[in-house]
């Protein structure tokens, strides 16, 4: 690199360095809604693993437990086995369609209120304010030279963030093991290594995402804003600066000098303008105080129109409403509006009624799909059997000829008892005339068409079964195994398999 060039050439950048955002504290209905949602979300997150649920002596009593070690997922009265994972897949699909539904109905509400990134960033910002002071104090501190006070505040802030991060990761692990037991072991240092590693990783990600990266996660990392750009239409709610009311923005002496007696309802019509050219000199409601920019957690200027950085949290609405009240102008210069309503209002027409906006084909289709999947899963959940059988035919050898000339096949039978109590079950065979069934333990002497098996609670019982049938017959015959529970509830399940014989000699 030429040093001469560095001195003479204008500095040009291809990448913009991050401009640090110092969001200013604000109060108002949307801020209070965010507080409420944050409280509920954090409460759910921290309390859920500690809820108890009595499942009897054979299963854990934690209400919500993802028992990866034993491949079981417990959620209140529902227990899911690995082969029933489609319920979880269904929930994830519902969550996806739910996001579509919410987006088409109320815009990026997920981003603005419920997304963990938003909730935790909000928490981190609040902690930062408690230590460093509000926006102006933070900017002053940022510019101040390093000294004992600044070092103390920085240490305190990052320590507090790390504690929040550790608590976040610390709560996460309790979803995967018995919470009280794991909590005790964790404190005593006897918990499994993976627990400490998980807490470490989540502490780091929480600290980095919530403390250091913040809005960059939303703007650069998260795919959801890109998808939402495609999801939004002219009837989706967005936080909108009502330019037709606010412009031209003026402040200070210019504003004092402007005529004050104008109707603020909208831009002057062309007819009115022709009658009174001074109307063109009218002033907008926006006094260019930049309060909306100061409070924005992603540091954007909402007056530039809809943009990917806007997570529609509504804090600029609260900020602007406060200013409008002070200068005696009507509120909601910035407000939740659809693109269609914005155009209608700009041309002086009435906006669409809210219900007509909500109940449109798009939201109804999303809701239909979402509710359909939910109902189908509920139906499946209500009708699922808690007993199951699967039969695996031994292929090597396919068949064995016995002394009496009959043919024997072997099967590995697995019986799933998904109830949380031991069950006695009956296993029988259907089809295949003259066939008998026995286990290695009972021997062929005890052979008959069915046998009983004890299955431990919430376990799979595996048995090696032998079936013998007369030697003459088709090479490939159908055989059905049926399992029936021998208790009051008595549900049953079947599995179809085959019985192999040698090729018959011609």
């Amino acid at each position: 690199m030429s040093s001469l060039h560095e001195l003479t050439a204008p500095e040009e950048h291809f990448f913009e360095a991050r401009r640090k955002v110092f969001p200013k504290a604000v109060d108002g209905p949307f801020r209070r809604l965010k507080w409420a949602i944050m409280a509920v979300a954090l409460l759910i997150y921290y309390v859920t693993p500690w809820l108890r649920w009595n499942r009897g002596p054979w299963a854990p009593n934690q209400a919500v437990l993802v028992d990866l070690a034993h491949r079981r997922f417990y959620m209140f009265s529902i227990e899911i086995w690995p082969h029933e994972f489609y319920y979880v897949a269904g929930l994830l699909i519902m969550a996806g369609i739910g996001l579509f539904l919410v987006t088409s109905a109320v815009g990026r509400a997920w981003c603005g209120y419920a997304c963990p990134q938003t909730v935790w960033t909000d928490l981190f910002v609040h902690v930062e304010r408690a230590i460093d002071g509000d926006r102006n104090a933070q900017i002053r501190l940022q510019r101040a030279p390093w000294g004992p006070a600044k070092i103390a505040k920085r240490v305190a802030k990052h320590a507090a963030w790390l504690v929040i991060g550790a608590l976040t990761g610390g709560a996460w692990i309790f979803y995967f093991a018995d919470a009280p037991t794991l909590g005790q072991a964790f404190v005593h240092g006897t918990a499994p290594f993976v627990a400490y590693a998980t807490v470490g990783v989540l502490t780091a990600t929480t600290y980095i995402f919530g403390g250091l990266m913040r809005e960059q996660v939303c703007i650069y990392m998260c795919p959801w804003p890109r998808i939402q750009s495609a999801m939004l239409d002219e009837k989706s709610l967005t936080v909108t600066y009502k330019a037709w009311r606010g412009e031209p923005r003026t402040h200070g002496l210019k504003r004092e000098a402007a005529p004050q007696d104008l109707d603020h309802g909208g831009m002057p019509s062309l007819v009115a303008l022709a009658g009174d050219p001074s109307l063109a000199q009218r002033i907008g409601d926006c006094i260019d105080c930049n309060a909306c920019i100061a409070v924005c957690p992603t540091g954007i200027d909402i007056r530039e129109g809809p943009q990917i950085g806007c997570i529609t949290c509504g804090l600029c609405i609260d900020a602007c409403d406060g200013i409008m009240a002070k200068i005696g102008r009507p509120s909601r210069l910035i407000g939740y509006t659809t693109d269609l309503d914005a155009r209608l209002a700009a041309s002086g027409k009435e906006p669409l009624p809210a219900l007509r906006r909500l109940f449109r084909p798009r939201t109804l289709v999303y809701f239909g799909a979402w509710a359909g999947i939910g109902l189908a899963m509920l139906f499946a959940l209500g009708n699922r059997t808690r007993i199951d059988i699967s039969v695996l035919q031994t292929r090597n050898p396919e068949w064995v000829r016995l002394s009496d000339g009959s043919i024997r096949n072997a099967y590995t039978v697995k019986v799933r008892n998904m109830e949380e109590r031991p069950r006695k079950v009956d296993i029988s065979i259907d089809g295949l005339a003259g066939a008998t069934l026995w286990t290695e333990a009972s021997g062929r002497g005890g052979a008959s068409r069915h046998l009983t098996l004890d299955v431990a609670p919430d376990q799979v019982a595996q048995a090696q079964l032998f079936v013998a049938a007369p030697g003459g017959g088709p090479k490939h015959a159908d055989l059905v195994f049926t399992v029936r529970a021998l208790d009051a509830e008595g549900s049953a399940a079947r599995d179809k398999t085959y019985f192999e014989r040698p090729e018959q000699e011609q």
């Binding site: 690199m1 030429s2 060039h5 560095e6 050439a9 040009e12 291809f14 031994t394 292929r395 090597n396 050898p397 064995v400 000829r401 016995l402 002394s403 009496d404 000339g405 024997r408 072997a410 290695e440 333990a441 021997g443 062929r444 090696q464 032998f466 030697g471």
Partner: protein, 311 residues
Amino acid sequence: MADEKQIGEGRIDAPTGTSFVGHEWDGIEELDTPMPRWWLFTFYATIAFAIVMVVLYPAIPMLHGASRGTLGWSSHGQLDKELAAEHDRRAPTMRALAATPIEQIPGNARLLRVAQEGGRSAFKVYCTQCHGAGAAGGKGYPNLNDDDWLWGGDVATIQQTIVHGVRQPGDDKTRMSQMPAFGRDGILKPEEIQDVVSYVRFVSHQEGASASARRGATVFAGNCAVCHGANAGGSRTVGAPNLTDGIWLYGGDRDTITETVTNARYGIMPAWGSRLDPVTIKMLATYVHSLGGGEASPQKPAPAPVAVAGK
């Protein structure tokens, strides 16, 4: 695009302030962009890491092997350590298996499972060459899944057969017997052999009664019944097969039986007692017994006449 005189290392790209390397393809030029600092430091870190690795671990190839490294690590050493740890982990179970008489293993569900699974894997190593992966055997090699046993199918008898083998010279407890080669040695004439084959195929329900079979009955009574029994039901003391059932070790068709009677058969099996440890053999016997044809162990005060009558 770029003029000849403009191409050169000193020239600066105005928008980026970076000099050109001097390479140009159809107007597209390469910039001498410096490496990002984080990349450079990562590169230095990998060099430092490599130096530490070379010091700690085997790295530099020498004439005989590689440099040892200060940690003394080797992949063989690690494998030995893992194998020793696994051996220690299994030791209590192996001791329990060694101490339990083979007839009592089924009484302990855990030991039974260990023995069956251990036997399954040992079988794959030592036995599948003859008996097949599914223990279904082949011509001359018995199918271990069925309920027909030459020398006996209770678990202790199977263990005895595995330890001493079949017709193994040098082992005085080996399963020993020898069928005469009736044709080759001229004991029977070819017509007599055909008659006795007819008789054997008659008693095994493969052929109807015939004059040849009736003649064969006499030949059988005079030459074969001493081992195979008067009813052709075989004898386990000499490993003579039951000729009346549906199972044939070499084949039940006329040609094969003729071949068997003419030249006799002399199937052998190694004596594994000198090659495998007693616990492995116990596990093998338990596994083979579990394949579906295993017979119950005789009661302790075994009344000898019953065993003979059971044949």
